[in-house]
Amino acid sequence: MTIAIDRGQTKRAPRDVTTWDRLKVNRDWLGFWFMLPAMAFLILFLAYPLGLGIWISFTDARIGRVGDFVGLENYEWLWDDSIFWLSVFNTLLYTFVASIFKFAIGLYLALLLNENMPLKAMLRALVLIPFIVPTVLSALAFWWIFDAQFSIISWSLKQMGVISQNINFLGDVYWARFSVIFVNIWRGIPFVAITLLAGLQTVSPSLYEAATIDGATRWQMFRHITYPLLTPIIAVVMTFSVLFTFTDFQLIWAMTRGGPVNATHLMATLSYQRAIIGGVLGEGSAISNAMIPFLLAAIMISWFGLQRRKWQQGEAND
């Protein structure tokens, strides 16, 4: 009994265990604590700017001045703005056409590079060149190639007697669209090709051996072995490719600044022109926010459409 009393006097009475104490050691919460730094990072550098952009689009902010809340006014204005809709059309056209060509040519190139041939490593490295040249530099080079007066293409064709007058590459609406899409394809192919090539190399050769024994043709091998096994890579690559194309800015800005008569204005370039050059931040943010639904749709299509296969979860293919 005395012992018990001694104990009570020397030791402090245990305080109540608070929720905080529990959370600190709770194993279910441990994961949360570890995630916290990453989360803070994402919130600070991704969620906050995105949220800010959305907020600004509801105001009449200008550069250097905080705006007042104007509700949906910016969006209502854009809804009736023919130039905005033209830029939406241009962006969709640009993305759609360029992505299809990039995929087709990229895949073809990947298949070629996957073959055994002399100087394989060197050829693979060469394919990457358009991708490693800084975009602005290649755009400037193409700007000269498509120049109204000094185009090497026009010059060559004239020398050969095919045409009598320079082609108005960047001054004619259709030629201008063709030219910028062409450059985008040229620049985007290596990314698609090399990534798909990496994907091709993960396909086990034994599958092809088995197919050969079964007497499959090359097309059948592609259709039933290569393509299905490549699908997840294709989904990722094309998602990225579409996102990059949709949000492209540098090529257009360096080559046409959205001209002629806004025929190559993409949403990104129009947003920049209105927000930064023109100083109307609210409207500019509204234009860039208008890209979000399109981008989300692109992501959804590729992830839910192409990646739903069960082998994604480690189960048998069906």
Partner: protein
């Protein structure tokens, strides 16, 4: 006129200083003497941070920096000068105005001080001092920086743009001198095209070149984006006339002008494919500096923009005003520096360094040596006199600046001239956008 190609083109032409201008020790002596008697005494240990636009001509920059050094030595003011590209000057100045820190002086474009009239240090005394001493300010320059009777900044200079042409082509087309009115100009362009020596003016998003010549066509017909009270008046018969005139003109142009940016006409002219265009003095300077282009330089002449049906000059020229922020701790040093820049001993040399790229806004500098050093420079001496502010007859300020930055007038003309829209459609699109900017 904010392209870097033009600047790089000009980099060949360094080391040009007018004979007899103050340099080295003499400049320092002048600066010291000036500081003793100037109406503004720089505060003790003053420190000024100055932002300016990036120069086109190295010699201009050199003259500016020499002046800064002399001012620094004479007043013991610590000077921190940095340059920004044309596009970045306005946003940075706006942010400084809004946050109340970062800069003391900003040397920008167009109507910069009008963007934040409550944040600038009034320059009435400086304008008064300089105006009295140097024969008064030109109207366009004053309008650009004045709000009522207050000077929000000092219009340091104008970056002039005029017609650059090949005399041989004009002679061949039967024009003894450059036409002075719109019909004559159109006739000349037609004749040039018929001879295979076409003219060409940018119809693309060339912020300097396209804006300046298309505003000239618009204003020359008496059409404006807004009236004196900033009411949108673009939808007018005059605008239709301007569109039709422009269409007729553009039919005579060298192909590809819809894709042109600010440097395209420089390239085409220097390559001998283009025979008449609107530009800063840079084409001529570049030709002069290139020994292989001597013939072209000798054949290149400048002309004033012809006068439109309204009977008076209607030019859009690029004013470059300087302002001091109200929050600067050293208002006297700031004022002293601005006044010092425009004193004859500095400014003559500076103008010479700029080689015609910069035009004075104070009448006394009509006699500046740069305008007679090469007779072909002379046309550019008129830039500050024949211009309207960037807002036309409307209020100079942010709204007018936005309309120009968003290429509203350029796109209206381009839409019509390329046949994408009829006159009604082209005007309607522009009117709608203007109404939003001027709401």
């Amino acid at each position: 006129m904010n392209d870097f190609t033009r600047r790089t083109v000009l980099q060949g032409g360094t080391a040009f200083a007018a004979a007899g201008a103050l340099t080295g020790p003499a400049l320092f002596d002048f600066a010291k003497a000036w500081a003793q008697t100037a109406p503004w005494k720089a505060e003790k240990d003053a420190k000024l941070t100055v932002m300016r636009w990036k120069r086109f001509v190295p010699a201009e920059d050199a003259a500016f920096n020499e002046m800064v050094a002399a001012f620094k030595a004479a007043t013991s003011t610590d000077m921190n000068v940095f340059s920004e590209s044309f596009e970045d000057v306005q946003p940075k100045a706006s942010v400084a105005a809004n946050t109340g820190s970062g800069l003391d002086l900003a040397w920008g474009l167009h109507t910069l001080p009008q963007l934040f009239p409550t944040k600038v240090l009034l320059m009435n005394d400086v304008a008064d001092y300089l105006g009295k001493k140097y024969g008064g300010w030109t109207d366009a320059a004053a309008a650009t920086v004045k709000q009522g009777n207050n000077w929000l900044g000092i219009p340091v200079a104008t970056v002039g743009g005029y017609l650059t042409y090949r005399k041989s082509a004009l002679d061949k087309a039967g024009f003894k001198e450059f036409p002075k009115d719109f019909p004559g100009f159109l006739e000349m362009c037609k004749a040039l095209k018929a001879n295979g020596t076409p003219a060409g003016f940018a119809l693309g998003h060339a912020s300097g070149d396209a804006n300046s010549w298309l505003h000239w066509v618009l204003w020359g017909h008496g059409a404006y984006t807004v009236d004196k009270n900033d009411k949108v008046i673009i939808n007018s018969p005059e605008t239709v006339k301007a569109l039709e005139y422009c269409k007729a003109l553009s039919d005579t142009f060298i192909p590809g002008v819809a894709s042109w940016n600010d440097s395209s006409n420089n390239k085409a002219f220097l390559a001998g494919e283009l025979y008449c265009t609107g530009n800063g003095i840079s084409i001529y300077v570049a030709a002069k500096d290139d020994p292989t282009k001597k013939e072209l330089a000798d054949d290149t002449y400048h002309a004033l923009w012809p006068i439109g049906p309204i009977g008076k000059p209607t030019e859009l020229q690029l004013c470059v005003p300087i302002l001091a922020f109200k929050f600067t701790k050293y208002p006297n040093a700031a004022k002293a520096f601005i006044a010092f820049m425009l004193e004859k001993q500095n400014f003559d040399k500076w103008l010479s360094g700029a080689r015609g790229y910069l035009t004075h806004t104070l009448n006394a500098y009509d006699a500046s040596p740069v305008w007679t050093a090469d007779p072909k420079n002379y046309v550019f001496s008129q830039a500050s006199k024949r211009a309207l502010p960037a807002s036309g007859i409307g209020t100079p300020g942010e709204k007018a600046a936005t309309a120009i930055a968003d290429f509203l007038v350029v796109d209206m003309f381009a839409n019509f001239c390329t046949g994408r829209e009829d006159a009604k459609g082209a005007i309607a699109i522009t009117e709608r956008q203007l109404k939003r900017i001027y709401r």
